[in-house]
Symmetry: C2
Subunit: 507 residues, 2 copies
C-alpha cells in the first residue's frame, strides 16, 4: 500500500469511526454471536496476493462488528469505563505514524521528554504531592504503564527487591532465597483480581484481608495481620490499597493504612485505577486523603479520563527502587546522554515502549482541565440521576452508590435480581454485570460512555423496568415519589469543600 | 471535540503521516536536541480551557518532530527494524475507534476470535508445526503479547509453575518455597537483555552460557551446565534459545538444545524476535530446524513483519500451563461462554488487552503472503548489496552478516571503528549502533525502513565512507574489486532449498 492509497484508506476509516460513534445507539450493546462464529466466515489461511483495502473495510462491518461488544454505547454499563475520545484516537494515529520505540532517551528524545512533561501535568491535575512528580527535586517520578496490572506488579517487584536488600543488610547471614521465601504482601478482599495475579507472578503470597461491611480495609486489620505474620517469622513487604474497588467503588482508609506501612517500613501502593480520575475535581480529593504516605500510586487514564487504552499512570516516590529492580544494561542500549533523562525501560517490564504520551498530551490540551472536569462531573451527575430513578421505585433498593457506579437490586431474595440480570442480558440492549456485596447479589450500573446523555440513562432504566415488570409486577405504589432512604446506601459522592491542604500540594 | 471536528482532525493527521513518510529522507535521522529541550517550550501545567486541534498539530511539527529519532527513515540502521505500515496504522485507528477491552470472549467476541484466526494464519505463514496452532486438536495455541520481553516472562512463569508442581508431586516433602529457591534457567551470553530481565522479574537465576565464536549456543554446553547444576542440587526449569541474536543475528543450535531439553524435561522457549519474520520465506526455515522440540516460540510481528508495535506473537504447545500459572477468577469476569473460547487474559500478564488482531489482519490481507515475502527478501537483498559495498573497500572487513544485518568494521585497531561510529553519529545523517563480537568492536548495519531502496543504501554507504576517509585515507587500492573473502564473515543467508519436511508441517 502506497501513501496515496493510505490517504484514501485512512480517511475512509476516520469517517467509519465517526459514523460508528454517531450511530452506536442503533446497535445492540451485546452481540448475538455464539463462540466460533467468525471462523465460519473467514478463510483458513492468509491470502496469497494482497487484497484491496475496500474489501477489508467492507468485512469489518460485515464480519467484525456483529461480534463486537460496544464499550462506547451509552447503554454499556459493565465493568468500568474504558476511555475512547477523538483527541486520543488521533494521538494513537500519530504514535503509529512516527512508530518509534522509546526505550531510551536517544531512541527518541521527544518520546521520553513528552512523557516526563505530561506525567507532571497529570500529577498536578490530580493534586498529587509534589514529591511524586518528575519535576520535583527528589527521586520521584511518573511513567506511563500499559495497565494497572503492570503498575501493581512493578510496585511489588520494586518493593520485593528493596526489602531483600534491607533485610540482607541487617541480617547478612540470610540468603536471598531465605528472605524471598518469607516475603508476604497484603490487600483487601475487595481488590481487583490483577492484584492477586501480581502476587502469583512475583511469587509473593498476596494475603486478602477482610474489608468492613462497606468494602473498606482499615489500618487495624492490617496492623494485626502484620503483627501476626512477623511473629510467625514472615517478612511483610508490600500493601496494595484500593481507592475505588472494582465491585462497589469502596475506598480503603488510606490514612490509616499509610500510618501502619510507614511505621513498619512496608511499601504502600495505591490502586486507584478507576476512581483516580475523579481527583481532577478538587471536591473528590478528600477520597485520597493520606496519599502522601504511599510509595507508589497508579490510576488508569485509559479508564475514566478520556485517553484510549493503554495509558496507566504510575507515580513513585523514589524511582531508584524501580531502576535497581529492573536495570539490565547492554552495550547496544547505551548512549552518551545516559543518566540525564529517565530511561523508562528501567521503570517497566517490557523493553519496548511506544509513544503513548502523544495521546495523553492531545487529550489534556484539547479538553483542558475544565473539559476533563466537566466530563467527570457529568458522569457522576448521570449516576446520581440513575440512583434517583431506582430510589423512586420501591421494588428496588440501592445497596451502594459512589462516583459513576450505582449498585442496586430488587428487594427480596437474590434470585429475583439474578433473574432480572439474566433477562436484561438476554435482550442485549444493555450490558450490566453483577457483584456480591453485604451478602447480597447486586447489579452494578456504571456510567461508561463518553457520549451518555440523561435520555440514555432514562432509556437504560426503562429497559431494566420492562424486565423487572415481568418479575415483580408493577403497582401504583411503586411509582410514588419518596425521599431517598438515606440508610439504604453509602453515599460518598456528596460534595465536600476542597481540602485546602491537599490543593496547596498541587501547586 | 465532536465527530465533525474529529473528521477534520483525523484526516489532517492522515495527510500529516503520509507526508511525513513521503518526505522522511529530508530529515536528519538523529535529532539535534539535548536532554531537557522540550520543557523549555511547553507550559508547566495542563491548559485550563481546551485548545484547538490545529494548534496541537502545529506544535507536533514545531516541538515534537525536532526531538524524534526517525525509525522509519531509510537511513536508520540501528537495533532492528520496528514495523510501520499503512495497513497496520489504519488497523490501530480502528482498534482505537472500537476501543473494546477483550479480556474475555464476552467482553468482545470478535476481539478473541479474530486473534485466534490471525494467529493460526500467522503460524501457518511461518511454517510452525500444527500442534502450536489454535486450530489443532490439542492444547496448543497462539496469542498476541505486547513484547518479546513479556512473551519470555510468560514462558518462564509457566515453566516455573509447571516445574514446581511436578517436583512437588515426586517429592511431597519439599515445600513450594524450597523448590522455587532451587530453580535455574539458561540462555546464551548473546541473548537479548529482556531474557536476563525476565529472570530477575521471575526470581529465577538466568544463567548465561558461553556461545561459540560465531555467537551460537550448542547442546553440549547446555547439557554440561544442567549436569553440573543438578549435581549441586539445583532444578533446571527453562531454557531460552535465540534465533537471531540482537548483536549479530546468530542462531542457537535448536535441534541440539531441543534434544537436551526434551531429555531433561526442561521447558524450551524460542526467542526469534527479529529473525522469525524470515520464516515466512520457505528458504529460511532451515534456520529454525528443531522448532518442533520447543514448548513456546515467540517472534515480533512488530519488528520485521509490517505490523506496528505492539504485536509479539507467542505460540505454546500446551496453553494449559499458562492458564494454570495465571488464572485468577472473579465473579465480575465470568460469563456464560466460559471455556468455549480462550480467555486470553489467562495467557498474559495484564488483565486488559486491546483489539490488536485488527492490525495483524489488515497487514496479512492487504500485503498477502507474497507481499510479505517480497518485503523480507527485499531487505535481505539490500543487506547483501551493502555487504558487497563493504567488501569492495579493503579498508573494511565484514565480521558477520545475516539476514538484514551486516556487522562491519575498519581493519585494524578497534579505536578506528569507534572513531568512525562517533563521527557518523555526530553528523546525524545515519543511526548505527555497535556491538562486540569475536573480541572486536563492530558496527551493526541493519536494513530497517520499509521504504528503503538501493539508492538509500548507496547513500548510507557514501556517508560512512565520507567519515572513513578522514580516518583511513583513501587510496586507489581500496576501490579495487575483489572476490569476497569468504573466511571474513559467517554467511548464513545463502539460499538453501526449502526443507520439505518442515514445509509439510505448515500445511
Amino acid at each position: 500500500m502506497n501513501s496515496r492509497e493510505f490517504r484514501e484508506f485512512g480517511k475512509a476509516m476516520v469517517d467509519y469511526i465517526a459514523d460508528y460513534i454517531d450511530n452506536v445507539r442503533d446497535r445492540d450493546v451485546l452481540p448475538s454471536v455464539t463462540p466460533g462464529y467468525l471462523e465460519k466466515h473467514i478463510p483458513k489461511e492468509t491470502p496469497v496476493d494482497g487484497e484491496n483495502w475496500k474489501d477489508v473495510l467492507h468485512d469489518v462491518e460485515k464480519l467484525i462488528m456483529p461480534g463486537v461488544t460496544h464499550w462506547h454505547s451509552p447503554h454499556f454499563h459493565a465493568y468500568y469505563p474504558t476511555a475512547q475520545s477523538y483527541p486520543a484516537i488521533v494521538g494513537e494515529m500519530l504514535s503509529a505514524g512516527i512508530g518509534c520505540i522509546g526505550f531510551s532517551w536517544m531512541a527518541s528524545p521527544a518520546c521520553t521528554e513528552l512523557e516526563v512533561i505530561t506525567m507532571n501535568w497529570l500529577g498536578k491535575l490530580l493534586g498529587l504531592p509534589e514529591e511524586f512528580l518528575n519535576c520535583s527535586e527528589g527521586p520521584g517520578g511518573g511513567v506511563i504503564q500499559g495497565s494497572a496490572s503492570e503498575s501493581t506488579l512493578v510496585g511489588l517487584l520494586a518493593a520485593k527487591e528493596k526489602m531483600v536488600r534491607s533485610t540482607q543488610k541487617n541480617n547478612p547471614s540470610l540468603s536471598e532465597g531465605d528472605i524471598k521465601g518469607k516475603l508476604v504482601a497484603y490487600t483487601s478482599d475487595q481488590a481487583n483480581s490483577s492484584v492477586e495475579k501480581s502476587g502469583i507472578l512475583a511469587s509473593v503470597p498476596m494475603i486478602h484481608l477482610p474489608s468492613d461491611t462497606k468494602g473498606r480495609l482499615s489500618g487495624d486489620v492490617l496492623r494485626e495481620a502484620i503483627r501476626r505474620d512477623k511473629a510467625a517469622g514472615l517478612i511483610p513487604c508490600y500493601v496494595v490499597a484500593t481507592l475505588g474497588t472494582t465491585g462497589t467503588c469502596a475506598f480503603d482508609n488510606l490514612e490509616e493504612l499509610g500510618a501502619v506501612c510507614n511505621e513498619e517500613g512496608v511499601w504502600l501502593h495505591v490502586d486507584a485505577a478507576y476512581a483516580g480520575a475523579a481527583f481532577v475535581c478538587p471536591e473528590y480529593r478528600y477520597l485520597m486523603k493520606g496519599v502522601e504516605l504511599c510509595d507508589s500510586f497508579t490510576f488508569n487514564a485509559h479508564k475514566w479520563m478520556l485517553v484510549n487504552f493503554d495509558c496507566s499512570a504510575l507515580w513513585v516516590k523514589d524511582a531508584r527502587y524501580l531502576v535497581e529492580a529492573f536495570n539490565v544494561d547492554r552495550i547496544y542500549l547505551q548512549h552518551q546522554h545516559e543518566g540525564k533523562a529517565p530511561d523508562y525501560r528501567h521503570w517497566q517490564i517490557p523493553l519496548g515502549r511506544r509513544f503513548r504520551a502523544l495521546k495523553l498530551w492531545f487529550v489534556l490540551r484539547i479538553y483542558g482541565t475544565e473539559g476533563i472536569r466537566r466530563h467527570i462531573r457529568n458522569h457522576i451527575s448521570l449516576a446520581k440521576h440513575f440512583q434517583e430513578l431506582v430510589l423512586n421505585d420501591s421494588r428496588f433498593e440501592v445497596v451502594t452508590s459512589n462516583l459513576g457506579l450505582v449498585c442496586f437490586r430488587l428487594q427480596g431474595d437474590d434470585s429475583l435480581t439474578k433473574e432480572l440480570l439474566e433477562k436484561v442480558t438476554a435482550n442485549k440492549k444493555l450490558y450490566l454485570i453483577p457483584c456480591y456485596t453485604q451478602q447480597k447479589f447486586v447489579i452494578r450500573f456504571v456510567v461508561c460512555s463518553r457520549i451518555t446523555t440523561i435520555e440514555d440513562i432514562n432509556c437504560s432504566w426503562a429497559e431494566i423496568i420492562s424486565h423487572a415488570n415481568t418479575i415483580v409486577p408493577y403497582t401504583t405504589d411503586n411509582s410514588i415519589m419518596h425521599e431517598p432512604r438515606k440508610n439504604d446506601y453509602i453515599n460518598l459522592t456528596t460534595y465536600q469543600e476542597p481540602d485546602d491542604s491537599m490543593n496547596e500540594k498541587s501547586k
